[in-house]
Amino acid sequence: MELLTAVSIGLLFATGIFQLLRRNVIRSAMGLMILANGVNLFLLTTGAYDGTSAAYTTEAGVHSDALPQALILTAIVISMGGTAFVLSMLYIISARYQTADMDEVDNLKH
């Protein structure tokens, strides 16, 4: 379980950062989303996450730490809002320049 989580976090980070560095704006936005998931998965692993019974109950068995899960919930909501906003800005920019190549969106240089 630990190995699987570690490998998936690594893969998500690698893919996310690779896509982030692409010139295509859509791809770089995708990179952000993938990276967000990697970060959330990392947050999950910071607490005990493989419990077998519900937290804050008297049930027998191993409990999970509920705090990182609450953090992830908040982070997911915020990153969803952020992603929606990024995509809407991308829509305006790519419609204005008729391209998805970041190198051609260069009016700010002047």
Binding site: S28, L43, F85
Partner: protein, 496 residues
């Protein structure tokens, strides 16, 4: 207990005000009057908070929901945060006043003031919160409202600048989340006071240094410190004038606040390393910001680059790390907020009177001829930015140099002393082009533009704080005395 409720008021008032402003979004006069009233009441609340904290002699803590300290979210007001909240709210009031008198289309949008008040909520919240994750949430609120306000700017490159900023901000918030994760897995707490105490007790956990680095990167993005500065000139130059005056003055101070908290509360034993990084970043920022400001062709962009340099001075002061230089950093941050807000508003005012709405030098050259009042204000603002009496800029510069002489980093003192001259060069060049040179063919001055009330108010404060600096300096002295002993903060939050 009733005293402790004061802590939440500067966050709660703008938040409630923002929601109600949204309900009245189509009744413009009502919405405008409501926003101004909310901001003024909120500013008064922050002054009351500062007075209460000062009189109380120890930090005021509000435990939200009544949960005891390391488990619930605490809102903490010590002298540093109370002083920063006052700074934020004073500048934001003038921002609202400028927006009310602005001719931009962006201020007529129904949700403009809602987002403006959300910006205040986010910034005040990040400064008052005593919980790392809560800090992330408030910082996101701040980023989203700032970006929305810029994306709808009258400047046609607003959306691109906003995209650039939002992209790097999302990355910064990933840094923050990773820092929260690494610190939580190392110390099992998110409460800043509790974390500070635990790091002091055991500074050997393997994930501590990655956590520090990630948190440092987050605050460096927020304050546009040097390796993470590239978004800042575009973003601050493209934002609508009332918003860019806020972004370039108080919003960058969030990072400054974060550095002060990191070096004096969270990672006290690790502070020398953090300070050295800040010192280097600050010196590079001063040199790079000053040189870039000299080389730009746009007044607003010049002032945005100047923010890089001025934040660099503050980072250098934090980097020296003595009690005197921390006091200097607080005074400098306060004064720079007033000066930069005033200067950007004046730049925006000149742009609003130019034939095309732009702050580029070839369009605004000579526009100032019929605007003598703005010229006087800009000149006094330039003096303040360069640190020449009788303005508050002189107070902060002289404190900076006298605290530098007492520290051991003479090379940095020498460098920033020499590069201080840049400030005078670029502000006087802008003044000369706008108010002295004859306008080119086809350039004329519009008969009406934005209202000058807000910069006048700010300039009055700038000169008043230059002549009568003792209240601010005494408050900052008190704040840095509290910061020199982290147990003041920790005991107030955790009790005992």
């Amino acid at each position: 207990m009733t005293m402790n409720l004061l802590v939440i008021l500067p966050v709660l008032i703008p938040l409630v005000g923002a929601v109600i402003a949204l309900l009245w979004r189509h009744k413009r006069p009502l919405r405008d009057a409501w926003t101004l009233a909310v901001m003024v009441v909120s500013m008064l609340a922050s002054f009351v908070l500062l007075a209460a904290v000062w009189q109380n002699g120890s930090p005021l803590v509000y435990q939200s929901g009544g949960w005891p300290a390391p488990f619930g979210i605490s809102l903490v007001a010590d002298m540093l945060s109370a002083l920063f909240v006052v700074m934020v709210q004073v500048v934001m009031v003038t921002g609202v006043i400028y927006a009310l008198g602005s001719k931009d289309t962006v201020v007529t949008y129904p949700a403009f003031f809602t987002f403006f008040l959300m910006l205040v909520t986010g910034l005040t919240g990040t400064i008052l919160t005593g919980d790392l994750f809560n800090l992330y949430v408030f910082a996101e609120l701040l980023v989203i409202s700032g970006t929305v306000l810029t994306a709808v700017s009258d400047d046609k490159f607003g959306t691109e600048a906003a995209y650039k900023y939002f992209y790097i901000s999302l990355l910064a918030s990933f840094f923050m989340l990773l820092a929260v994760g690494t610190l939580y897995v190392s110390y099992g707490t998110l409460n800043m006071a509790d974390l500070g105490a635990k790091v002091m007790a055991d500074g050997e956990r393997p994930l501590l240094w990655p956590g520090i680095a990630l948190l440092l990167a987050f605050f460096m993005v927020k304050s546009a410190a040097v390796p993470f500065h590239f978004w800042q000139p575009d973003f601050h130059a493209a934002a609508p004038t009332p918003v860019s005056a806020m972004l370039s003055s108080v919003v960058v101070k969030l990072g400054v606040y974060g550095f002060l908290r990191m070096t004096t509360l969270l990672f006290v034993a690790q502070a020398p390393t953090i300070r050295l990084i800040l010192l280097v970043a600050g010196v590079i920022g001063v040199v790079f910001g000053g040189l870039s400001a000299i080389g730009t062709h746009n007044v607003k962009r010049m002032l945005a680059y100047s923010t890089l340099a001025q934040v660099g001075f503050i980072l250098v002061a934090i980097g020296w790390g003595t009690q005197l230089s921390i006091m200097t950093a607080i005074v400098f941050a306060f004064n720079h907020s007033l000066i930069k807000a005033a200067m950007l508003m004046l730049a925006g005012y000149v742009a609003s009177r130019a034939s095309v709405k732009s702050a580029a030098f070839d369009i605004v050259t000579g526009v100032g001829k019929p605007l003598p009042l703005a010229g006087v204000l800009f000149f006094v603002g330039s003096l303040a930015l360069a640190g020449i009496p009788p303005t508050n800029g002189f107070v902060s510069k002289s404190l900076l140099f006298s605290s530098g002489i007492n520290s051991t980093f003479y090379w940095s003192l020498l460098l920033i002393g020499v590069t201080s001259i840049f400030t005078l060069m670029y502000t006087i060049r802008a003044f000369q082009r706008i108010w002295w040179l004859a306008p080119a063919e086809g350039i004329y001055t519009k008969p009406a533009g934005d209202n000058l009330a807000a910069p006048v108010l700010l300039l009055i404060m700038i000169v008043a704080l230059g002549i009568w600096a003792s209240p601010l300096v005494t408050a900052a002295q008190e704040a840095s005395a509290w910061l020199s002993d982290p147990s003041v903060y920790i005991q107030a939050v955790l009790g005992g």
